[in-house]
């Protein structure tokens, strides 16, 4: 993945970024914005849930609306947010960021219908590739 440098970035997407660690959140938001994406940041699971509800009120989710969420966050975990919205037409697609060495959690995320799981620490290019694959689908 390191080799595929993203000079040709993916189609611009609307990304809802949920991450409780401010450093990582800022970093990711900066990078994704530089790539031309539209990024909304939330710092915990409860806010993530609220924002998804608001988006749902505007109509069904579109392919370029992607949730990039940490699994463990204060309030609610990313998985529980996905669980409460999955199956509904307004549910955006989820990409989860998990800590390494936790196979169980990855399996659970996939079972809930996450379109991607990326293991921390990851290269930004790795994330870019994943986003391209998801948005392009």
């Amino acid at each position: 993945m390191i080799g595929t440098h993203a000079t040709t970035s993916a189609k611009p997407a609307r990304i809802l970024l949920a991450e409780d660690d401010p450093e990582l959140r800022t970093l990711l938001a900066e990078a994704l914005r530089r790539d031309g994406h539209q990024v909304m940041e939330v710092g915990n699971g409860l806010l993530l849930d609220d924002v998804i509800r608001e988006l749902a009120a505007q109509g069904p989710a579109r392919p370029h609306e992607i949730v990039l969420s940490d699994v463990r966050m204060p309030g609610r975990t990313g998985l529980s947010v996905l669980e409460s919205h999955r199956g509904s037409p307004w549910c955006p697609r989820f990409i989860f960021m998990t800590g390494f060495g936790d196979e169980e959690l990855r399996a659970e995320a996939r079972e809930l219908g996450a379109v991607g799981v990326i293991e921390k620490p990851f290269e930004l290019d790795e994330l870019r590739g994943l986003l391209r694959a998801v948005a392009g689908a």
Binding site: E19, D21, E23, L24, L27, L28, A31, D70, R72, T77, S80, M97, T98, G99, F100, G101, D102, L105, E119, K120, P121, F122, E123, L124
Partner: protein
């Protein structure tokens, strides 16, 4: 040969007993001997009397037949030439002779053709007999006394040498054994029961020494096994914590990696450089902190293993609980369980921080595993008046109390008393070692405290750790400590004995 120590009491008793018996036997024998000699002397006298009477009788009978009675009687009277021997004629037929005090009297009947004509009486003074008796008595008493003294000397020597000495040596040996000194075998040269006793005692000492050695090595082995058990439990805990810790490391590693790539690809504006550098350093420090915590926990015990007796120190329980919760937070989050801690006052105990942390960790992990659904595990730290349960030797009084309360499934009353047994677990294979609670209980007992458990099925369980508070600090310690502990001095003192 022997000093007159209390140890020869037995010998003395033996000697006195033998002496009494000997004096009795010798006296009886002397008495019999004197009596026999006196009888022999009397018999001699009577034989002499008979000789005198016989010679007179034939003369009397011959004269009597010639009807010269008066002449015959005169002859009798004349025959009494000696002062000490008297001869008398009695016409009447008299009874048996009666010895009066000074004379021994013998009577002989005189008959002619079958008709008794009278009685011849021979009397002899007894002064000679008395002198003989006195002499015989003196001799007998003297010889008896000499015999007694000689026998006594031999008996005393024999008794002290063959009874007193071995008994004293045996007693000293027993005293040494009683004091725990099993060395220095007892050497008795004699080949009798005492010699055998000494030999048996030496054999017994050898066996005792062997048994003691075995017990010591067994105790050592048991302590080693206990330590290994604790270590195993700790490693299991470290293993379970590790995945949580690894998970925690993902985020800062991601930040560092991304920032480093930015440097590498020249995407960093000169103005941002120092800011990015600071961020990287902060993230690395954060990771170091996480790893250090885990190592701290796993290492403390290893350090304790190597030391013969891990040192105890003052432990601030509130700090320890906070540190432990930080370690376990990732695991709790994974299970959607909130950990809350209420520590109303600073509480200090005296103990091994690593071991106590292991207990707290075990209890919290246990609580987490008991909770099937999201909820809260509540930790509360404070002081409490407590009375130890039956079977726990500790004084009643003020204790430091840490409760860990979960909202889990609770424990069935039937198995509640068994939860501290080793390898007792209701968890699935792989979830728990079944050692945690048992190891925890052992650690807290060693600290002079105990663990109580209450549970209601469907509501939750509450484990309470009670530990003797640390004794009052000395003046060299911080003033704050002092002020806090002084209030509890009177309560804390009694626990020193129980707490060890």
């Amino acid at each position: 040969v022997c000093t007159s120590s209390p140890s020869v009491k037995l010998a003395r008793k033996l000697i006195v007993g033998i002496l009494l018996g000997m004096v009795l036997v010798l006296s009886a024998s002397a008495y019999l001997q004197v009596r026999r000699e006196l009888r022999a002397f009397a018999d001699d006298m009577r034989r002499d009397h008979a000789v005198v009477a016989r010679s007179l009788r034939s003369a009397i009978v011959a004269t009597w037949k010639d009807a010269r009675r008066a002449e015959a009687l005169r002859a009798v009277a004349e025959s009494a030439t000696d002062e000490r021997v008297k001869v008398r004629w009695l016409d009447v037929q008299e009874g048996p002779p009666v010895d009066d005090g000074d004379w021994r009297v013998s009577r002989f009947p005189v008959a002619i053709d079958g008709d008794q004509i009278g009685t011849l009486e021979v009397s002899e003074a007894r002064d000679e007999e008395r002198a003989y008796v006195r002499k015989s008595l003196v001799q007998t008493v003297l010889s008896t006394a000499i015999l007694a003294v000689l026998a006594l000397a031999i008996i005393i020597w024999l008794t002290l040498w063959f009874v007193g000495r071995p008994i004293r040596l045996l007693r000293d040996k027993m005293k040494r054994i009683g004091e725990g000194d099993l060395g220095g075998p007892l050497r008795l040269p004699q080949r009798d029961e005492f010699g055998e006793l000494a030999e048996e005692t030496n054999v017994m000492c050898d066996r005792l020494r062997e048994a003691r050695r075995r017990i010591e090595s067994e105790t050592e082995g048991r302590l080693g096994a206990l330590e290994q058990l604790r270590h195993a439990d700790r490693l299991a805990t470290v293993g379970r914590l590790a995945s949580g810790v690894a998970h925690e490391l993902g985020t800062p590693l991601g930040v560092v990696l991304a920032r480093a790539r930015m440097f590498q690809q020249g995407e960093v504006a000169p103005g941002d450089m120092s800011n990015y550098g600071r961020i990287i350093a902060e993230q690395v420090e954060r990771m170091s902190g996480i790893i250090r915590q885990l190592l701290d926990f796993s290492r403390r015990q290893s350090r304790g293993d190597r030391q013969a007796a891990p040192e105890r120190e003052r432990v601030n329980l509130a700090e320890l609980v906070v540190r432990t919760l930080a370690l376990i937070e990732p695991l709790a989050e994974k299970r959607h369980v909130a950990l809350t801690f209420v520590g109303r006052e600073p509480v200090e105990i005296f103990g091994h921080p690593g071991q106590v942390q292991q207990v707290v960790l075990n209890l919290v992990m246990n609580a987490l595993q008991a909770m099937a659904r999201p909820g809260t595990v509540q930790l509360t730290l404070g002081r409490a008046q407590a009375t130890p349960p039956a079977g726990v030797e500790a004084p009643s009084g003020s204790y430091a109390r840490l409760t860990v309360e979960d909202a889990g499934n609770g424990i069935e009353p039937a198995i509640l008393p068994r939860v501290f047994e080793p390898f007792f677990t209701t968890k699935d294979v792989g979830e728990g070692t079944g050692l945690g609670l048992s190891v925890s209980y052992g650690i807290i007992r060693e600290h002079g405290g105990w663990i109580e458990v209450e549970s209601r099925v469907g509501v939750g369980s509450r484990f309470s750790v009670l530990l003797p508070p640390a004794p009052a600090v000395t003046d060299t310690q911080g003033g704050d400590h002092d002020r806090h502990t002084r209030d509890h001095v009177s309560e804390a003192r009694p626990h020193l004995a129980g707490g060890g």
